[in-house]
């Protein structure tokens, strides 16, 4: 059997979502962003809403998300994506509007914007990637960095008395009346990806039901920032992140 037998259409078992562009991703091998992008592209494509979806990309590693998913994108200033999404959705209620934000963007500099957008119950989707570190700027402490975790700005490990505590922003927004669906997911294996995709789809469906804000956290890895192989990073995440950031739905109404 030669290669031409293998690539026959009837032998095809998987193809990438047509909404994923052919641009080569700048993400590091092993990074969670690529998988979450794939989930988003598949959900938007399967729902057939690419002509009425507006994505808001953050500042951070995902700033270039607009290069990878073939929809209209607004690129926000650091932390402000929920403010952009608020106006985009209120002015265009027939559109699906989502933000895509990392932990520095959403849980540090953009805390006010995310809290108030969620509190107003904006009918948007928030995709929150929590990898407990600043990836783009070179591995500094994030608000979600675990106690003891070594980063470029916590070279001796995060200490509560110096740096405060890791911020469970997802539990925090679940307290707000404006949120309708708050869940914490991961994407480190096929089972997790399948589960997460269902959550993302539910979040997008919610945004046309006038129910309020849907918030999907992904606990993810940053193997470059963590200075680990992808496999080791996944293992470290399961052993250290999951106990502090437990997976599952926190709120669903």
């Amino acid at each position: 059997m030669d290669i031409n037998d293998i690539i026959k259409p009837e032998n095809k078992v998987y193809s990438k979502s047509p909404l994923l562009t052919d641009n080569i991703m700048h993400y590091c091998p092993g990074c969670t962003h690529g998988v979450v992008h794939k989930i988003l592209a598949e959900v938007i494509g399967e729902m057939g809403i690419q002509d009425k979806t507006i994505g808001i990309s953050p500042v951070g590693c995902a700033v270039l998300a607009y290069n990878y998913i073939d929809i209209d994108w607004e690129q926000a200033a650091h932390g402000r994506a929920p403010a952009l999404a608020t106006a985009a959705k209120r002015l265009n209620p027939d559109k699906y509007v989502f933000t895509y934000q990392g932990d520095g963007d959403l849980a540090s500099i953009g805390t006010a914007e995310i809290i108030h957008a969620c509190n107003r119950g904006e009918n948007i989707v928030v995709i929150f990637i929590n990898n407990a570190i600043y990836g783009m700027t070179g591995g500094q402490m994030a608000p979600t960095t675990l106690l003891g975790q070594v980063t470029a700005t916590t070279p001796y490990g995060r200490k509560a008395e110096l740096n405060g505590f890791p911020l469970k922003i997802t539990e925090l927004v679940a307290q707000l009346e404006g949120t309708c669906f708050v869940t914490r997911q991961s994407a480190q294996n096929p089972a997790a990806v399948r589960k997460a995709k269902k959550a993302v789809r539910k979040a997008f469906e919610n945004s046309m039901m006038n129910k309020g804000t849907s918030f999907v956290e992904f606990v993810g890895t940053c193997n470059s920032g963590w200075k680990m192989t992808p496999v080791k990073a996944n293992q470290w995440m399961e052993e250290n992140m999951f106990p502090f950031y437990p997976l599952g739905d926190i709120k669903d109404r």
């Binding site: 002509d51 073939d70 929809i71």
Partner: protein
């Protein structure tokens, strides 16, 4: 004839927004401009024109809501006063960098810091020179009456969309708080989705099949790409300078002495001109209506007949620097101003002027 209504400059902004087809207002309360959002909330335009009005959690959010809405091709605006404008400067830089049309109203108060709620023009440098980081300008209109506040909402949106750039109405506490009669000129309805698509082919309105995705960003990681963007912006500003400068003159035909003043100070300066003329001094006034683009040609054409120029400003001397750049030493250029929310009387300005000619 259209109805004439007594209203504050701030209220005129709100009525201008509703009647000139604004799609969304996002703001945060601050004295002396809070009547803008208060009037909008009382008028409930979402029930009539469909305009969205939202009290944001901060000025930072307000300006970024403008960015979010402007990306979709909508006519969006905010209003604030000096300390709030400082908070918005980050967003204004992004809006300029991403080439997004929008309207920002600054009803200036005295600073620095929390300063005073009383009128000032001390944000001239900040607003006319850009405000935020990076090499950019905004179109800046300086109203001198409540009617201007109303009319300039339309004018600012027109220019903002024509050039895909943020526009500012740079007002102050005098013009914002003063009541005058305002003629409610004919309504311009909000644009339909089709009209927005036609006017803003760049807008993020959902990628229709067959067209490429729209990405609105101010990011260019590679230097040559960023420089190309900078050059494009500068060319746009040059075109704006060539085509859009607005000004008014008062008794300049035979003037030997010229006052230059914008906004509220142009109103006071008219009285100074009258006072000088009563005393046999041939004085005139140039009122820049646009501060960017600055009416360079108008000033240039008056220089040959002048003995001196005085810039009258509610600040320590900001616009006077632009005048000096244009005049380039050909005639003396003075500055008269008060700070901290203090407003000079026309007599006070006149007396200060007389001292300069007796020097």
């Amino acid at each position: 004839m259209a109805e004439k209504i007594l209203m504050k400059g701030n209220e005129a902004i709100a009525y201008g927004a509703i009647r000139y087809g604004c799609d969304g207002y996002f703001g945060y309360p601050i004295t002396p401009q809070s009547e803008v959002m208060e009037t909008l909330m009382a008028e409930k335009p979402w029930e009539t024109t469909g305009m969205v009005v939202l009290q944001a959690e901060s000025e930072t959010s307000s300006i970024n809501m403008l960015y979010g809405g402007a990306c979709t091709g909508k006519k969006v605006m905010t209003s604030s006063s000096s300390p709030g404008i400082s908070l918005m400067c980050e967003g204004m830089s992004y809006l300029a960098g991403a080439e997004l049309p929008c309207l920002i109203v600054n009803v200036m108060r005295g600073g620095p810091g929390l300063g005073t709620i009383q009128p000032s023009q001390s944000d001239y440098f900040q607003c006319v020179k850009g405000g935020g980081h990076g090499d950019y300008k905004m179109i800046v209109l300086a109203p001198a009456s409540a009617q201007d506040m109303y009319d300039f909402v339309d004018k600012a949106f027109e220019l903002a969309f024509k050039y895909r750039t943020p526009a500012m109405i740079l007002s102050d506490g005098v013009i914002g708080q003063m009541m005058e009669k305002v003629e409610l000129r004919p309504i311009k309805p909000r644009r339909t989705a089709e009209e927005i698509d036609a006017q803003c082919e760049w807008a993020c309105t959902g990628r229709k099949s067959g067209r490429k995705k729209h990405m609105i960003t101010s990011l260019a990681l590679e230097a040559p790409v960023q420089e190309a963007a900078n050059i494009r912006l500068q060319e746009k500003y040059k075109e704006i300078e060539e085509k859009e400068a607005l000004f008014a003159t008062y008794r300049t035909e035979d003037a030997e002495y010229l006052l230059v003043a914008f906004g509220s100070m142009s109103r006071l300066s008219e009285s100074v001109v009258d006072l000088a003329r009563e005393n046999g001094i041939k004085m005139g006034l140039l009122r820049p209506i646009t501060l960017f683009p600055y009416p360079k040609q108008a000033l240039e054409s008056l220089i040959p007949q002048l003995k001196s120029i005085a810039s009258v400003e509610l600040n320590s001397g900001q616009m006077v620097e632009d005048i000096r750049l244009i005049v380039n030493g050909r005639v003396p250029v003075y500055h008269f101003g008060r700070m901290g929310g203090m407003i000079p009387s026309p007599e006070e300005i006149y007396e200060a002027f007389v001292k300069t000619i007796n020097r």
